[in-house]
């Protein structure tokens, strides 16, 4: 076997081996979350590289070593699920670096981090002032997780006491001009509905690159023809406007009428509609 065929055979063999090992190891292997995955990831890679290029080596030796490293990570994962002690020993705990806004120098020293390195990690989290941090912890993987002080955290609807309409995941129902039937079913829709919606938007199926339907049954599409102006109706906003108009009309009629009985009826209904609008308003925001 000459050098070239050796390299070709070895490369193909190791692509298959590495693929199998990573498939078995799963997503966790790729994330390199723990010490073991990190080490085995590097080692498996270098073994493969070494055996492919080291022309005298026996191919099967390399495969064996990769299998061993792969099974070690696999075993480590399996035992880790069962035992907390095992996990603590192999993966280590997170180390608290900043608590209540104060840097814990002892822990920095223990992990051999300098204040410059800590500052650099903080900057990567967009924090430029240590005083802004309430709590920061060094994860076993080596990156820093930062909890900002409450007043510096991004504002949320909850902070503002706002009600927002709940929204579930969108479903992609058309890809490359093909209808994905299982996604369509998951969204609770059918072909008839999709055809109607597409005709409302005035496009044909084969011109649609991608279409998604949100949890309110609204279809948004992207067409192959980027010059095409697709109408983007906002039916929920329109409905809110209509509700408001009706409410204003009722109030107006109450002012205009001379009959006391009718005035009362209009006022009662205007108030009723007002309460209903207040309740439904968060759901009509899109």
């Amino acid at each position: 076997m000459n050098d070239y065929t050796h390299i070709i055979v070895a490369s193909i063999l190791f692509v298959v081996t590495l693929f199998t090992i990573t498939k078995i190891g799963g997503k966790k292997q790729l994330s390199e979350l723990s010490f073991f995955e990190y080490v085995s990831g590097i080692t498996i890679g270098s073994i493969a590289g070494e055996v492919i290029m080291g022309l005298d080596g026996n191919l099967l030796h390399g495969v064996l070593a990769i299998m061993i490293f792969g099974s070690f990570t696999y075993l480590h994962d399996l035992i880790g699920i069962k035992s907390k002690k095992f996990r603590d020993f192999f993966e280590g705990n997170a180390t608290v670096f900043i608590k209540e806004g104060k840097v814990l120098e002892e822990n920095l020293k223990k992990e051999k981090y300098t204040i410059d390195e800590l500052n650099s990690l903080l900057r990567q989290k967009n924090v430029f002032k240590t005083a802004d941090v309430e709590f920061a912890v060094l994860e076993p993987k080596g990156d820093l997780s930062v909890l900002l002080k409450k007043e510096l955290q991004p504002i949320t609807p909850k902070d503002l006491n706002m009600t927002v309409s709940p929204e579930k995941e969108a479903h992609t129902v058309i890809m490359d001009g093909n209808v994905l039937n299982d996604q369509l079913t998951a969204a609770g829709k059918n072909r008839g509905w999709l055809d109607t919606e597409l005709s409302i938007l005035n496009v044909t199926l084969d011109n649609v690159f991608m279409a998604q339907v949100d949890s309110y049954g609204k279809l948004t599409i992207d067409t192959y023809d980027d010059q095409l102006q697709v109408p983007s109706p906002q039916p929920r906003k329109l409905l809110l406007a209509m509700l408001n108009k009706c409410q204003a009309d009722l109030e107006l009629y109450a002012l205009e009428t001379v009959s006391d009985e009718a005035k009362q009826m209009y006022n009662k209904n205007a108030a009723k509609l007002q309460t209903a609008i207040k309740k439904i308003k968060p759901f009509l925001n899109e």
Binding site: S165, P166, E167, K168, A187, G188, S215, Y216, G217, P235, R236, L239, M242, L243, K245, C246, D249, L250, Y253, E256, T257, A262, M265, K268, N269, K272, L273, A276, K279, I280, F283
Partner: protein
């Protein structure tokens, strides 16, 4: 526009709203949203009934504007 015509117009808008709400309630996959759409639809239905009665009254008073 006469009063009767105004009320008539408002009634049609309410009918439109009712239909739209019903369509939203069916098309939404979020139960909370469906519920609130449905509840609002009921409220609109009640208001519609009151207005319909008023419309009949008005038509009695001004039969020439019966639409």
């Amino acid at each position: 526009m006469t009063v009767a015509a105004n009320v008539n117009q408002c009634l049609s808008t309410l009918k439109g709203i009712e239909a739209q709400l019903s369509s939203f309630a069916i098309n939404s996959t979020v139960p909370e949203a469906s519920k609130i759409f449905h509840e609002t639809m009921m409220v609109i239905g009640e208001i519609k009934m009151d207005l319909e009665q008023r419309k009949i009254q008005l038509e009695k008073e001004e039969p020439q504007y019966k639409g």
